[in-house]
Symmetry: C3
Subunit: 337 residues, 3 copies
């Protein structure tokens, strides 16, 4: 797509300062060329202003004086950049209809504006809403419900009975509705506990590649509206995640833990089972959460990187930290304070 | 399925106290309704006893006095719950036979009671036993052997020559038998070491979604009977895991490490290569195992979560822990003890 | 394949000491039988020399005196083992041609020596080079470019516009070119930032099962020549990885981080966004990298494993480490030094 700069200003609610021009694409300020628009959010990049070859920039008002090209002026350049990018690069829409090589059960209900791509399998009782797209190689099991304008990318598996709302994006390799991990000791071995819950995903949810969300043991696993999950996240059975919570890659959340809304959870975080995390909590990357969090705020664990040589020495001391603390207490008793 | 409560009592070896009734489903005690059975294992939930609307409960003998509805009485309510759930929710069996859209090599040997679903690929020499089900989109490479009554869920890949026993469940997105990660430095770059071993999986094994188990470099990677693996676990080449060991999600085990039987390994655990872990070891979540474990018992590492502000201060001190310990030793010398 | 030992010596540039013989396979020294060759690199295994039943060994010159069988003599037995294994076990080549059950767009350009297996989907404008193999269930989206002699194993997804070089191996379950994780706060929720970059993979790259590499937000995500990635690695948008860098399983690298060439990065490592790691850096397993690394060398974090009982005591002290350090400083002031 291409737009006149003036139209981009109008559609994003910005003031245009400078001449109108044609914008065909978006780029980083350091590499943008003619016909391209770039944005500056971080003052670090102001040095590029004088040398940019971009046709236009998205900037804060304070940079207007030093901006050599037409500008969309806004207090939130990153948001305007996202809006402009959504205009210039609208999501690709496949042709509606069911591919000749898709296998769709007779009892499945596919909206006539939906797309079912090559080699997709849709089982009995599944319902797929208006404008939704199911890409190649997906397996949609019995009685799955998918809302409207949701995109399921290639090679996704959606287990029986799972429900996904409107305007979602599910990336390749995602598995929704595999059995939760539930067993009970029975003699030497373990007896499987049937996982009879489902997975319910709200609207405007995005789920990254190869992320897995298990079905509940008895209740459902629930992902709220507007939740954004990065790649390779593991969500266990019976977890619930509140609206607009964002979770970075490779984080794992154990069973029956409830996470509030508006949380920001970093990558590689682990959260153990049966906890409650309140709303608006930030958890930094690699944190191990072993108790509930009742106060919003920022939480962390882990230890800092060092050279391996230094780390070895400090790390060895960690194994005697309790002893060290006791020695300090003893010294305190002996020393007149 | 539905059962008379009396029949559930007989089949699970429990005493029925109270009137017989019809049980159609299972639910949590807090939400169970008429026609449903629930269980209480944790004394925390005893408060629900007086208000439950369940038709029956699975309880320990000590709760019988305060139980207002018919009860299955047992010392292990969780095990009886699992048994009841297995009766009420038997695993779904697909129709035996080979789907018209499956591609099955002529030399593959598929038992006539097995199910090969739509779009499955079964390569030359593969053997699939009685009652096993291969769901849509799976790829079964050359000479794979799958026992009887094993279920392979959708979009699983099983590499050439891998063997899987009876009564296993392999969840979607699993990859068995990809090449192990083996290279040797050759000039600036690396030369691949062919991975000529295989993967052997015992009986009654469950493997969670998107878990990967690599083929051995020379010997096989071996998963014992009754092993339960959660989602997104990584098992490297040449690992062996003893019978009835249970491993939680997102744990990674490096090459040629041998793990005993009856172990319980938490989520996000890392175990480095060439170690031996004895039987009946418990490893808590997020532990990094860098040496062999020769004594059964419980092992841990990692540091506790805190507010980010506190954590920053403590974490900074960690980088000088060795120095701190030396300063304490110096003080001890100076102080009359 | 089978080889005369003399031919193996010639092809690997080794000296043959002893009688020529027929070699049919390769095995570990402890289990090798007649017709098999084994290697000793680690002096620990010298004890096997006297009892080996192998027909030949690959050894260092210093073991020649105690080697009871014909030997390939070399200073680098591991490299010669890899070369011999590559001769004895050449990668399986599928028959060239497009399977009848593959769905290939008319505008795709498939070299006539390439293999497109059953059930593969190749979209418009894709190009696949000479000798490359695309295995069952793969989805190759629009305008993907795959070089020559590259093998894409079963059930891989390659997003539109991604480019892969020559002589690569991409293992099952890999997802290349899913959207990067980019959002901007917009009211209560988040607006998606379109991810318009691509993924460019060099030559001689191997990518392990279920690894994910996201497309860039504006620029491309770049994987250099000779890079080896293990299973379940997550590479975020805009990351670049220099030539011949090797990364072990379950490591996650956040957006716009640049990693040099010749690095060795362990498993379960986390690297936060917008960092620069110089060349020839080693990062040990489980390290959390939160700042750029400008000096080559070895880096670590994490804490050592202990029994859970000891770990609890030390770990509790960690939460008061800053206080402990202050108490030590106070003691030092009070004590005459």
């Amino acid at each position: 797509m291409q737009y006149r700069l003036l139209e981009l200003a109008e559609r994003t609610g910005c003031k245009l300062v400078g001449e109108d021009c044609l914008i065909e694409s978006i780029a980083e300020i350091s590499s943008a060329l003619s016909g391209e628009i770039a944005f500056i959010s971080n003052p670090r990049y102001v040095e590029y202003l004088s040398v940019t070859r971009a046709s236009a920039l998205i900037i804060k008002p304070e940079f207007l004086d030093v901006c050599p090209v037409p500008a969309l002026v806004t207090d939130n350049p990153r948001l305007v950049y996202a809006k402009v990018a959504n205009l210039l690069y609208p999501p690709k829409k496949s042709e509606p209809g069911i591919s000749a090589s898709a296998i769709v059960a007779e009892s499945a209900n596919i909206d006539k504006t939906a797309t079912i791509a090559a080699g997709v399998f849709v089982s009995a009782g599944a319902r797929i809403g208006a404008g939704s797209q199911i890409e190649a190689g997906c397996v949609i099991e019995d009685d799955v419900v998918i809302g409207s304008n949701t995109r399921i990318n290639a090679n996704v598996t959606i287990g029986y009975g799972c429900e996904i709302g409107d305007n979602c994006i599910i990336h390749s390799g995602v598995v929704l509705g595999a059995d939760g991990f539930g067993f009970v000791k029975d003699g030497e071995g373990y007896l499987k506990i049937p996982q009879i819950g489902s997975v319910h995903i709200g609207n405007n949810v995005e789920i990254g590649a190869n992320t897995t969300i298990d079905r509940g043991a008895l209740e459902n696993t629930i992902i709220g509206n507007g939740v954004k999950l990065d790649n390779q996240i593991q969500i266990a059975h019976g977890v619930s995640i509140g609206d607009n919570t964002v979770i970075s890659a490779a984080t794992a959340i154990a069973g029956s833990t409830h996470i509030g809304s508006g949380c920001l959870i970093g990558g590689l975080v682990g959260i153990v089972e049966h906890l409650t995390i309140t709303d608006n909590v930030m958890i930094t990357g690699r944190t191990m959460v072993t108790r509930s969090i009742t106060q919003s705020g920022s939480y962390s664990s882990s230890t800092p990187m060092d050279t391996t040589a230094n780390w070895r020495k400090n790390s060895a001391r960690f194994r005697r930290l309790d002893e060290l603390a006791k020695r300090v207490a003893k010294l305190e008793k002996k020393t007149i304070i």
